[in-house]
Amino acid sequence: MANDLALSVKDLKTFFYTNKRCNKALNGVSFEIRKGKTLGVVGESGCGKSVTASSIMQLLPRLSRIEEGSITYHSERGDIRIDELERDGAEMRSIRGEEIAMIFQDPMTALNPVYSVGFQIGEALQYHTDLTKKQRGERVIELLTAMGIPSPGERAKQFPHNYSGGMRQRAMIAMAMSCNPKILIADEPTTALDVTIQAQIFNLMNKLKSENDTAIMLITHDMGVIAELADDVAVMYMGNIVEAGTVDDVLRRPQHPYTRALLDSIPILGRGRDQDIKSIRGATPDPYERPKGCQFAPRCDFATDACEVMPTEEAVTDTHRVMCHRYKEIFENA
């Protein structure tokens, strides 16, 4: 079992500090990413999806810290505790970009405007491989070709502002894939792009996954994307994973009231205009004044006094776990 894993995160707590207040952005998060599989992480804005990604990459802002828990990268050289590495130390830098790579939400701002795309892709190769300058140039063109960028030789010399949005994201993926990473973290890679471009990017990611056996952590707030691409799903709410399991587990047999509410709030194409879309009542709480117990309780239709206490994670099946006091009763009534 452990051999299939690319990365395990155990009880991770990452806190942000501002003006002597503390935002418990991640409050005990555990999950695994399997080799060659896609883990989809869904949740509303501010639920801690991106913080999880930044914690893994050790790219957290200065005033934040991993307080507890562990991030273990199962490399070929043995397990590496990422959370124990120095943030910008040599070891962490050699993992970043080479073994764990990341693509970002907005390709418009994620590329440096004053350097050519080829140069920026080549930079990763320069620091992680022994290739000569000429070989790097060839590899860059190879990568751009693989990403389906036309006339890659000329494109490599161009600057990000000469690229369209979709092409920039493909260039970002080329950069991330340049050193054949074991894990690719994609933080909402298509949110800033046209829907038509989305499909292209996802096809590309799927191809990379099957060809290079790359494990992917796909962060999104789009359930449709999850259904399409993910093998495993983790649903996050206010710094906790409230439900996790395989795609079938979570999308077909949702246990947590939040997951259900989330699924109910998506309009379905083809059902016409009169479909019953349920919005989730209330708003996400202020991260500095969180509810005492279950974070979702104030917005939950099934909340009782018992929910004043933080629920623990319970296994529904071997692959499916949920964080709710009442999931059994609710599930029976449904």
């Binding site: 990459m57 790219l59 910008d88 962490m92 830098r93 050699s94 993992i95 970043r96 970009g97 080479e98 790579a101 990341m102 970002f104 907005d106 701002t109 994620a110 590329l111 440096n112 405007p113 004053v114 350097y115 050519s116 920026q120 930079e123 990763a124 620091y127 992680h128 600057f159 502002h161 970002m172 950069m175």
Partner: protein, 319 residues
């Protein structure tokens, strides 16, 4: 790129024409003319109106304003700036005589302030919020806000008069054998002038650096696993360079026009000092020529800034 530069030069020409016209118009509006300056005040009573008119005619002053402007302009284009009213020396000779001193001082200050300003600004941005940053911020604000002449006078008082380390002012003295003998003379005016410039460059470099460090491509660079120095110098500083280059570029005119105040305070025999003398002595042809030269320098500097910006930032459209 070449067509871009050519086009920029072509735009510069009509601007120069308009400004030269305004400068000439300014002279026209001042009271008195060349003749009234040529006649010594003691003789005003003895010279008759007819004699004055004859002089005007011989100098071509009786022609229309446009005709005179045209003749002035055509001479200038041929490099003939006319003669100074006091002494009758050719203006081009005066300017060429004064230019080395001004260039020497300005290049010293420009190079010094650019290097030190960028380094300190970078340091300040990287150590944001630290004691170093606060200290540099205070020094920078003082540097920007204290007037040059005050700073210059205080420097003379302390280093020249009280401590006696450096000469009070002046440049080449008769007793100097070699060019390098006058080096102590340049230290005080050079440093005072550069400290003013350094403060500005530092403040600009700091804020541009903070801005570019907070951009998303820095996170991308970190995610690639690049070492810190490369992220700072290659990714952040390169982007921060554009506003700093613009600032430094607009300091370029001091190379020719000189710093009037500093040159006056330190009696540095450059173009700035000459300019003050010309204004005091109502030597209008000289004032006009220096003003026109400064304008030319400003236009050239803005051309250089445009070209440099286009070279540094590929997003600038060459059109």
């Amino acid at each position: 790129m070449l067509t871009f530069i050519l086009r920029r030069i072509l735009i510069t020409i009509p601007m120069l024409l308009i400004i030269s016209f305004l400068v000439y118009l300014g002279l026209e509006l001042t009271p008195g003319d060349a003749v009234s300056h040529m006649i010594s005040p003691d003789l005003t009573n003895t010279v008759t109106e007819e004699q004055m008119a004859a002089m005007r005619e011989s100098l071509g002053l009786d022609k229309s304003f446009i005709e005179r402007y045209w003749s002035w302009l055509t001479h200038i284009v041929q490099g003939d700036f006319g003669h100074s009213l006091s002494g009758g020396v050719a203006i081009s000779t005066i300017v060429l005589d004064r230019l080395p001193a001004t260039l020497e001082l300005s290049i010293f200050a420009l190079v010094f302030s650019t290097i030190i300003g960028c380094v300190l600004g970078l340091l300040s941005a990287l150590k944001r919020g630290s004691a170093t940053d606060s200290a540099l911020t205070v020094v920078g604000m003082l540097g920007v806000s204290i007037p040059e002449f005050f700073f210059g006078l205080v420097a003379i008082l302390i280093f020249a008069l009280n401590l006696g380390w450096l000469p009070v002012g002046g440049r080449l003295l008769p007793s100097y054998d070699s060019y390098w003998d006058h080096f102590p003379n340049i230290i005080l005016p050079g440093l005072v002038l550069s400290l003013m410039m350094t403060a500005g460059v530092m403040r600009y470099a700091r804020s541009a650096m903070l801005d570019s460090l907070s951009r998303e491509f820095i996170r991308t660079a970190r995610a690639k696993g690049l070492p810190q120095w490369r992220i700072i110098l290659y990714h952040a500083f390169r982007v921060a360079l554009t506003p700093v280059v613009v600032l430094i570029g607009f300091r370029l005119p001091t190379l020719i026009g000189g710093s009037v105040i500093i040159e006056a305070v330190f009696q540095w025999p450059g173009i700035g000092l000459e300019f003050i003398g010309a204004v005091r002595g109502s030597d209008y042809p000289l004032v006009m020529s220096i003003a026109l030269l400064s304008v030319l320098a400003v236009l050239l500097a803005s051309l250089i800034v445009d070209v440099l910006t286009a070279m540094i930032d590929p997003r600038v459209r060459l059109g």
